[in-house]
Symmetry: C2
Subunit: 240 residues, 2 copies
C-alpha cells in the first residue's frame, strides 16, 4: 500500500532551499532570534500588516513614503530606522492597526527566498502550538526553512523546526526522510527541557548577550506566547 | 588573557564552504558513505596515489590515457568504469603501487572545492584515531568539510566530524564556536555507542541498503581500520 502520509522536512539554511523547494506546498520560515518572534509579537499586538523587505535600500524607500520601518543588521538597529527586530519594539501602542515594514539580517531574506511557494507562514517558538494545529488541519507537505545566521546553520531555528516536526509526526499523518529533519528532531529532543541552557553556547545567543539582549532571548525562547499565524499574501504578511 | 586555542569547526555541506574557508589551515574532507572510506581503504592497500576528479568527463579522459578509474553516481558504478566507490573495490591486489583516478557524487566534489586550502586531508571513521593524532600534532585551525548528499546535509559525515571534534577538544588546545560544530558534537554523542542503529533511518543508508550495499555500510561505519592519512599534494592524494 502506498504511503499517503505528508512530508515534514527541515532545510537548515536559505542557501539550501533550492534543493528542497519544489515538493512542499507550505513553507514555514523560522528565525527564532529574533525576526519571526518579533513578527509574531507584532501581530499579537494588532499590527495590521507587515511588509518584509530583503534590503536596507527598499526599507529606506518605504520610510520615505511615511511607513514605520524596522531594520536590523548583525543584531543591531540600523541607523536612521524606527526599530530593529526586538519583539518588545513591536508591543507598542502606536503600532496597533498600522502597516509596518521590516528588514533583518536573516529572517526577511529567508521570507523573500520562499516567496514563490504556494503558502508561506511564519514560525517561532512563540506561536508553536497554534502554528502546528493549523499545519495539521491543512494536511499538506511542509518544509521548515531555517533562516540561519549569515547563510550558516544555527541551532535555535533548527530546534524550533524539530519542535514543529515532533507535533506533526505525532499525528501519524506525516513522515520525514531528509537527514536534516532527523538531525533537527534529535537536537530538539535534547534541547526541549531547557532551551536557555541548551543554547547557552550557541553563537547567536552569545552575540545577542554581548549586545545586552538577554530579555529578548528569554522572550524568543519561551514557547506559546501567542496564537497568531502570520501568512504571506501578495508580498505582505497578514494574520491568518 | 587571549584565547590561544585553535579552532575545530564543522561545515555541513560543500555549498556552505565559502562562508568558512578563509580561517582554517587544514580542511578535513569527509564522505563516510563511501568516498573517503574507500580512499582510506585504497591507501591501506598500497595504492601509490589517487587522483580525485569532479566530473565524469575528466574521469573518461584519464581512462583513455590508461589509468584505472573509479566512477560513482547516486550510489552506483558508472557504466564503462572499472569500479565505483565501494571500499572493497580498493582492496584488490592489482591496485597495489598503482595511481588510481576516482570521481564520486559528493566526495570528490568536496575535495575539489577545498583544493586551495593550505592543507587538505581525508577523514573517515575508518582512519579516525590516526587522523586525530596527526591533527593534534599540527596544532592548526581545522575545518571538517562534510560532503553531504547532493548539496544537502547528511548525518554520517556530521557524526564523523563530531567524533574528530571530540578528540581535538579533549586535548584542551582546541575550541569551537560555530552552531554547526555544536550540533555535530551533540549528534556524535548520541550516535557514538551504535552508529549502525543511529543511522538506520538516515537517507543515504537506506539508499545503499536498497542497492544491497550493507557490507559496505558496515565497513564504513567501523572506526579505526587503518592508520593511513591521505593528503592532497598538487592535485593528487598521497599517503602522509
Amino acid at each position: 500500500m502506498d504511503d499517503t502520509r505528508k512530508h515534514i522536512e527541515v532545510c537548515f539554511t536559505p542557501g539550501e532551499y533550492e534543493y528542497f523547494k519544489d515538493e512542499y506546498e507550505i513553507v514555514v520560515v523560522i528565525d527564532v532570534l529574533r525576526a519571526t518572534s518579533a513578527i509574531c509579537s507584532a501581530f499579537n499586538n494588532g499590527v495590521s500588516a507587515l511588509i518584509p523587505v530583503p534590503t536596507i535600500e527598499e526599507a529606506r524607500e518605504y520610510q520615505a513614503k511615511g511607513y514605520l520601518v524596522g531594520a536590523e543588521r548583525k543584531g543591531q538597529i540600523v541607523d536612521g530606522f524606527d526599530f530593529g527586530n526586538s519583539p518588545y519594539s513591536y508591543m507598542k501602542e502606536e503600532l496597533k492597526g498600522q502597516e509596518v515594514v521590516l528588514s533583518t539580517t536573516n529572517g526577511t531574506k529567508a521570507i523573500n527566498i520562499a516567496k514563490d511557494a504556494d503558502t508561506v507562514v511564519i514560525g517561532a517558538l512563540s506561536n508553536l502550538d497554534a502554528l502546528c494545529a493549523w499545519l495539521i488541519e491543512q494536511n499538506k507537505n511542509v518544509l521548515c526553512l531555517c533562516s540561519g545566521w549569515q547563510d550558516k546553520f544555527n541551532l535555535e531555528d533548527t530546534i524550533c523546526a524539530g519542535a514543529i516536526m515532533e507535533q506533526l509526526i505525532a499525528t501519524g499523518n506525516y513522515t520525514s526522510d531528509e537527514d536534516s529533519s532527523i538531525a533537527a528532531k534529535y537536537l530538539y529532543l535534547s534541547a526541549k527541557d531547557n532551551y536557555m541552557g541548551y543554547l547557552k553556547s550557541s553563537s547567536h545567543r552569545r552575540r545577542l548577550k554581548n549586545l545586552n539582549l538577554n530579555e529578548d532571548i528569554k522572550y524568543c525562547l519561551t514557547p506559546n506566547q501567542t496564537d497568531v499565524i502570520p501568512i504571506l499574501k501578495n508580498g505582505k504578511l497578514v494574520k491568518i
